[in-house]
Subunit: 552 residues, 2 copies
């Protein structure tokens, strides 16, 4: 029985080391999941999380945002960043938890479009700061003119995932309301792609109502002034749609509901369930309307899920997401990029797993955009620029799977197309499915990829029409210049042969030129008639229809 | 003062909806982070997490593992999976928490090589099961012959991240010890790439000491018998190495240490810190040896980090990681893949962020491997096959950045090379940095990428030598066959010209054949002398040196 004793003791021995892991410990070690893989990215992620929070707060409080971002170099690989907003401020009791507790916040449980959605970001930045420099984060917040400004120094106890208040007191602060966070961290600052500079630039493009005052560690302060004074429409919170609910979720909802009957539950806890729809679902499910939610068994719940599937229910309301809109999106792009052609589309909302979402796309072609190399793809989710993990992103996949040759660009296989093009894709949703907590790339849900492709195809066809026109004009001008080159020679030859006067020769020239114009049409017409229904346009339309059919 | 009142109320209003988010709720919604993106992957992830746990438990208890995996189709998109092992079993009190609480386990805090490291996997599978089918997971576990087998039905309360025991009782179970888990889930079963079949096959390759009994939903039971009875050497737990410690971690360690002085702390809480090394670090840091750990200020801690950087410390011990070894790795590969050439390397350990790790690589070339299309890359981390996210993995990047043309394969740009090749790369570490909780791809740490590249180059050079030999032999045989074709004709011509006898003609033939052999060397020599130091070998060696220098 040696073996038994051994096995026995082994299970008990193993049991001794089993214990709970704090979420803060977990992310402390897995910090690359939160976007703190390296020093360069750490700087960007910190600023991004703070700015996201500021913009969300301003929007919720209906304030035109004015955000200050400062980066100061403190030594080798050591930076101080400060982000200050004119938002509504944060009440005293919430400050420690918002900045120094992971998985805490107001956004996770709300079904509406917001930049933040996890309750992790800013606390992760505070944790990274303390991990690399040992210093607490400094916060000032003020909720209105008559209120004091509160100053906090905060750390996270990673073993318990709770805030540690190092210092707290009242401070003088000229601002009427707002929040400022200051963090020291190990980081590195670079310019160019995936830099903080790039993030600031793209944030301005996609948030035309925001003013950004940006002080990089070296060089002059940059002031990006808003292009519109109009605040974006506020998204409205919605309830879950029946089509998106799964067994486990339904059982959980049945347990916590305050509704008295399952019919009432269906009507009150879901969106788009009228009296009639509720009855139809329950009839399809063969569940009595008056059943108490707590008495619904697993088998009945399964039938309700079936019942939902067999009932036609209106798509969820879409005022929970607010697009930027074609006009503002294009204006933002024009402000930043000097191109010769622009096209923009803002599609109608669609649904994945019960979550409404919509896609907008905008492109700029030619002009100052370099024509060598792959096109530039700017990715945005709920108005936040995504700078990393392009290869892992559903937007990238959609771009690569589009046939850009038919829009006049070069493309080899399923790679990014080549040419002087900047493509902006924005996805807005009550819940953006990211591939990691760092929120850098969008997960590959088929419904989302399909919508992105359709948006790209819309602007792509506009582009194709333009590129084709441009090519036609170019070809025509080439032909004309050939003919024009020969007109004087022909006139002279005719003069010699027919022994005409100089006057008659110039007459012939004019006649020939007139003939040229008359038979080939005015160049102006070619250039300024984008509606002309040429054969090419018809081809494009056909390609578009085929693409859409293929995607069904 | 309307504005003030509005702001004020806004901050208070916002505060009302701020609350804690349970880690289970978080992952329930973000289930794609855990590998439950779609039905197909859900099946694989569930089985993978359970098998990982079984193998880890068997290894810790020094038991030769015999694992049963059963998949049963229960209806449309509905499967029942069962995973059963002959491991040490789990003690009563731990069963609910191990299977129905996220972030719970023994592996997170241990610095040694293990398959699991997060304390998330199997509970995530239980959560996915309950979310999609509403059913509890069923567990049986027995810790030894004299003990009862315990049966549990478990769910997770996702609002609190705590186990809910639906049912528990003693059960008859013939097994001496072991654990069986049965889960119902929404899933889909496919064959081919990224399938459960593929996972089972690769698990057998990389774990030659494991017997796997696999029952797919359709078709016959598959029995993969171990190729060795030798159990792998047990990895030894280590302490953190000073080179890997950061400010925040050091401060935390100083707070919880039981050491009386900072010198004692350095010696006892870190690996490779002798009396002398501890003194040197503290001298470099200008911190008194006798300082109490609790009296070390942030500034002193910062100096200690500096002090560590300026002190030469031996690399960490490497018995915390156990390679599979060249011989076993190659044997496993040979068992599964019928090729004409194999090469394997098991490199010595290296360190990233204070974590020891090592890389092994093995390749199979030609034979039954299809020669069309890209090579097949099999990725493994701590003996677990990685089937998804190849594009996002450091192993893939390393393969693509290697110049395979010099090893005789076709490759365009930085893409995967083409040819009849299967490449196995295994990374073993006390802490494998994955790009997500789903543990599908390895994060891009430069130290890791460098080691992977060096391993690939080693087997690549062997391959290059073989491919070149093969080409040479082929060329030579072609030449010989030309010459041989003409020998009879020349002999006949000579016979006619010189009026020789038939006997003399056959003599000439023999002489010519001898001459051919004599001047061109025996074909055998070419084929069976891999050590021959040809010009090509020298070139390869030079390329190898250059590659290594470039990587420095």
């Amino acid at each position: 029985m040696v073996d038994l004793a051994l096995n026995n003791s082994k299970a008990h021995e193993l049991a001794k080391s089993q214990r709970e892991i704090s979420i803060a410990e977990f992310f402390e070690r897995n910090r690359h999941l939160l976007g703190f893989d390296n020093k360069r990215k750490a700087l960007l992620t910190t600023i991004k999380e703070a700015v996201d929070n500021s913009l969300d707060a301003c929007e919720e409080a209906d304030i035109l945002p004015e955000i200050i971002v400062e980066i100061t170099e403190m030594g080798a690989d050591r930076f101080r960043v400060a982000i200050e907003d004119n938002g509504p401020g944060i009440v005293k009791e919430q400050i420690p938890k918002i900045f120094a507790k992971l998985l805490y916040g107001s956004k996770f449980h709300k079904m509406k479009m917001q930049r933040g959605q996890q309750g992790i970001g800013i606390s992760a930045a505070v944790m990274y700061s303390q991990l690399t420099t040992g210093k607490p984060a400094r916060i000032i917040s003020k909720i209105g003119a008559g209120h004091p400004a509160l100053y906090y120094e905060l750390k996270i106890n990673t073993q318990t995932n709770n805030p540690e208040i190092i210092s707290e007191h009242v401070k003088d602060w000229g601002k009427e309301s707002g929040t400022r966070i200051e963090i020291d961290l190990e980081a590195s600052y670079n310019k160019g792609r995936q830099s903080v500079d790039e993030y600031i630039r793209e944030t301005a493009i996609i948030n035309p109502h925001v003013t950004l005052i940006y002080q990089p560690p070296k060089g002059e302060q940059l002031m990006l002034v808003r292009v519109t004074e109009k605040k974006p429409v506020q998204p409205v919170e919605i309830k879950p749609h029946p089509y998106g609910v799964e067994m486990g979720m339904l059982i959980k909802m049945l347990q916590v509901t305050t509704a008295k009957t399952v019919k009432q539950f269906m009507k009150e806890d879901f969106s788009r369930v009228s009296d009639k729809v509720a009855e139809e679902i329950l009839e399809n499910a063969q569940v009595l309307s008056k059943t108490k939610p707590k008495n619904v068994t697993r088998e009945m719940a399964e039938r309700i899920i079936e019942g939902i599937r067999n009932t036609k229910i209106m798509m969820p309301p879409t005022d929970c997401i607010v697009p930027i809109g074609s006009e503002l999106l294009e204006r933002g792009l024009k402000k930043e990029i000097n191109a010769e052609f622009y096209a923009t589309v803002s599609r109608t909302p669609n649904v994945y797993r019960g979550n409404p979402f919509l896609v907008e796309a905008s492109l700029a072609y030619g002009g100052d955009i370099p024509s060598e190399g792959g096109i530039e793809v700017m990715r945005f989710a709920n108005k936040v620029p995504l700078l990393y993990q392009q290869g892992a992103c559903a937007i990238n996949e959609s771009v690569c799977q589009t046939n850009w040759k038919s829009y006049g660009l070069q493309q080899s296989g399923s790679n990014l197309p080549q040419g002087p093009l900047v493509l902006v894709v924005h996805i807005a949703s009550v819940w953006v499915p990211f591939t990691s907590e760092a929120k850098e790339a969008i997960a590959h849900y088929p419904e989302i990829i399909k919508e992105i492709k359709l948006a790209i195809q819309e602007v792509g066809r506009d582009l194709g029409r333009y590129v084709n026109k441009k090519k036609k004009v170019k070809d025509e001008m080439k032909k004309r210049s050939y003919i024009e080159t020969y007109i004087p020679h022909i006139s002279e030859a005719l003069k010699d042969i027919l022994a005409l006067s100089d006057f008659a020769e110039s007459d012939i020239k004019d006649n020939l030129s007139y003939l040229l114009e008359h038979t080939r049409g005015k160049l102006d017409n070619l250039e300024f008639n984008p509606e002309a229904n040429t054969e090419y346009d018809e081809n494009l339309a056909r390609i578009g229809r085929e693409e859409e059919e293929r995607d069904e």
